[in-house]
Point group: C2
Chain length 72, copies 2
């Protein structure tokens, strides 16, 4: 559940930066397939990986967990 939201958020951020999955994978030093898995919420990156995603996407880590549809 959480990793689905996380994946959607990451995809959203990547597109807003006008990056392809391949470019992102290049910057992160990981495979394109993994990016796909993460964005679809099949896999979730480790906490160390989260830091990498945030760095490359130029956002804070907490922004990766900031969604629009937050019930509160």
């Amino acid at each position: 559940m959480l990793q689905k939201k996380l994946g959607r958020r990451i995809a959203e951020l990547r597109r807003s930066k006008k990056l392809t999955q391949e470019q992102l994978a290049e910057s992160l030093g990981c495979s394109v397939e993994f990016i796909s898995l993460v964005e679809r919420g099949v896999n979730a990156p480790s906490v160390a990986g989260l830091a990498d995603f945030a760095r490359v996407l130029k956002v804070e880590v907490r922004d990766l967990f900031t969604f629009e549809d937050e019930k509160r």
Copy 2:
């Protein structure tokens, strides 16, 4: 680096709720040793685990990654 901050944040939140590591472990259904490892930043919980921590500590996931000393 990130997991150290995360650990300190979790410990901080736990104490603010007046909980012991044992009580937290009980609520999470994990071992006390693991709580200790996480809080010291030796290990980091998985993304799924993050959701559990947030639920038990009654905060949003992004609050786990919100630190005071944010350089900006």
